[in-house]
């Protein structure tokens, strides 16, 4: 931290010309984006939960094998990718760009695993169970609509995150970008992980076929 920046951060918030959050503008911007995106997912998940609770005939198509096993492994992949992302930020803070690039690549591989498993799960639902966003064999069209909307939007976020990390990774290897850029990318990636922590129990576990 530069001396001037440190002095700026310590200044009284009433004196003007200082940083009340003691953080850089990129990180604050990402936080604002995350909060707005969290509201979008909150609304979608609430709409899903409302439909789920108000409909006693809600389908439970997810068998323990393979759907719940698959989604649990997907959860494991995302949680592990968050850990590798933390390691990337930690390495960048220590000035080790080589290690940072490796940890970011590991994060991208875990994210790619998540997307591959998720697409496999989607294909099974579409081809074997004949579920689409508009109809399904169980006569509750909202199931397909909410399932594909929520998981589709989340998967889009994961894919964008992988591309984002790829851009950051190549820049880190070429000696560009600072530690704060890796940290901001990490914030986005952790948010994607965080959203899945609600999608997994609400969409998968609440529709697990028991018995």
């Amino acid at each position: 931290m530069s001396t001037q920046a440190a002095a700026t951060a310590r200044a009284s918030v009433w004196e003007g010309g200082q940083s009340p959050y003691a953080t850089n503008s990129k990180k604050f911007g990402m936080w604002l984006f995350i909060i707005s995106d969290a509201l979008t997912f909150s609304a979608l998940l609430f709409a899903y939960t409302y439909s789920r609770v108000s409909n006693p005939d809600w389908p439970k198509p997810f068998e323990f094998t393979p759907a719940i096993i698959f989604s649990s492994v997907m959860t494991f992949a995302l949680l592990t990718s968050s850990l590798t992302m933390v390691m990337a930020v930690h390495s960048m803070n220590a000035g080790n760009r080589g290690a940072t690039a490796k940890w970011i690549l590991a994060t991208m591989v875990a994210g790619g695993t998540f997307v591959a498993l998720h697409l496999t799960e989607w294909m099974k639902l579409i081809n074997q169970e004949h579920v689409t966003p508009f109809q399904n064999p169980w006569g509750v069209p909202l199931f397909g609509a909410t399932f594909f909307a929520i998981t589709g939007l989340h998967m889009t976020h994961v894919v964008i995150g992988i591309i984002y990390l790829g851009i950051i990774c190549q820049a880190v290897v070429r000696g560009k970008f600072k530690a704060e850029d890796v940290e901001v990318a990490g914030l986005y990636w952790h948010f994607v992980d965080l959203v899945w922590m609600f999608v997994f129990p609400l969409v998968y576990l609440m529709s697990a076929r028991v018995g």
Partner: protein, 107 residues
């Protein structure tokens, strides 16, 4: 660029062992969620338990992985009360969802 525009980068005050502990805690909580999903309990109780565990997991991710625990409290106050308030406003309507099934005319 003004003098105050780009501030601050500090090293994380927590180390790798803490992050690994948080990761293990998140995996354990996920395991508990999967176990609970196969318990035969009413929908609302299941929903409350699963969302409660998810909130704990989210808090761990936000606090440690997203580093918010080590940011200024003013950042937290700016971002999260609004989010929580909006979610609570949505939850007001959840009571209707529980009443709809009993309001259906018998077929």
């Amino acid at each position: 660029m003004s003098a105050h525009a780009e501030v601050i980068h500090e090293h994380a005050p927590v180390g790798i062992p803490t992050f690994v502990k948080v990761w293990i805690a998140l995996l354990l909580l996920t395991g508990i969620e999967v176990f609970l999903a196969y318990e035969q309990v009413p929908t609302m109780i299941m929903l409350t338990a699963l969302v409660g565990l998810s909130v704990i997991k989210a808090a761990l991710i936000i606090a440690y992985f997203m580093h918010l625990k080590f940011e200024r409290f003013s950042l937290f106050l700016t971002l999260f009360p609004m989010l929580v308030f909006c979610i609570l406003l949505m939850l007001i309507f959840l009571g209707d969802a529980t009443r709809i099934p009993v309001m259906r005319p018998p077929s």
